[in-house]
Amino acid sequence: MGYGQPPDEPETGAGSEAPASVEPLRQSADVVAPSATSHGSADPVVEFLLRLGDDRLVLGHRLSEWCGHAPILEEDIALANIALDCIGHASLLLARAGALEGAGRDEDALAYHRDAVEFRNALLMELPNDDFAFTIARQFLVDAFAFHAFQALAAAPDEDTAGIAAKAHKETTYHLRHSAEWMLRLGDGTAESHVRAQRALERAWPYTGELFAEDAVTRAVAERGWPADVAALRAPWLRTVTDVVTRATLELPDDGFMHHGGRQGRHTEHLGHLLAEMQIVARSHPGATW
């Protein structure tokens, strides 16, 4: 739910492209402070990597919130493992984005010293965990996306990114196996788990469209020879999802209205709270190491 967003905003319309002149972030005392007008990078490749890196970072943080609260000990460990994997991907992707940007921002500066308006994650990642069924459904839908996205990105012309994507694809293969198995157990489980799983799927579905949305950034990156055709990922994603949802005796939700905005920095009210928690230590002690 982006604020101030007209209901039928097309992807190519106003607001989906970076402003004509983008001020680089000002640096002070090794801490990068955002300026009022900074909304992202002028380099579409950097923007593209920020999107993927922020996806993993925000999702990893949401998953880490289960630590100590999961329904059973083994699942607590599993979710923490997956969260660490996601944060690892974020670290590598953000580091690469910062390096390509060339403005002196490393992965820590990007993760801890940007405000919500500068984040480029899809809205699906920042939604609160809600119940275990929603966590699993969201994780499953994202894992299916990331599986195909990393597979495609392993053919990136930038060697570092290709390497990151290949490694991430391996780990995501396991994540997908884990969340898919849980979808089967919840969907084809008890009456309660079935209802919760179906409801979770319905709630998450309107946020999946954003994952495959083409815009000026993806087109610009594709022109540079990158495998950035995110729209083309939807077909294999839907095949993966349909297969598991069917076996889980669940129903595939209808495609209706799809939420957008995260890729342009227009986030839900949830991201601010998430970042406040995630960034408080680093911002309280900028430059600290241990």
């Binding site: 059973i72 000990l73 083994e74 699942e75 460990i77 599993a78 493992n81 396991y174 196996r177 884990h178 198995e181 157990r185």
Partner: protein, 108 residues
């Protein structure tokens, strides 16, 4: 005489809060024996394999995992130690200990 280890501390009727228990064996490299690493709770074999991987295989070197329902493991009880194991150690003529292991033969 032989009982599987009771991990539920006598709370065999833990019911909803505990899933069946599985024993986990991990293999460090191809050809090595699988060694007992611990146990996990899981509803079925696939979940047991995944839980075992998350709990026991994330940090060390593991190339293979076996999981077995704990209930299927038959073990000797402490009371059997005497009749089962005692006579072995004081009969040197039963053990092949007078041979030197040739070079290159790996002893596990």
């Amino acid at each position: 005489m032989t009982e599987p280890r009771d991990e539920t501390n006598g709370l065999a009727d833990a019911g909803d809060s505990q899933w069946p228990l599985w024993e986990v064996f991990t293999q460090e490299r191809t050809g090595a024996p699988h060694e007992h690493a611990g146990s996990v709770h899981a509803t079925d074999a696939e979940q047991a394999i995944q839980n075992a991987r998350d709990v026991y295989a994330r940090r060390g070197k593991v190339v293979s995992i076996w999981v077995v329902p704990s209930i299927d493991i038959t073990a000797t009880s402490p009371g059997d130690a005497g009749p089962f194991f005692d006579p072995g150690s004081d009969k040197a003529y039963r053990h092949p200990q007078f041979y030197r292991t040739p070079h290159g033969v790996r002893v596990y």
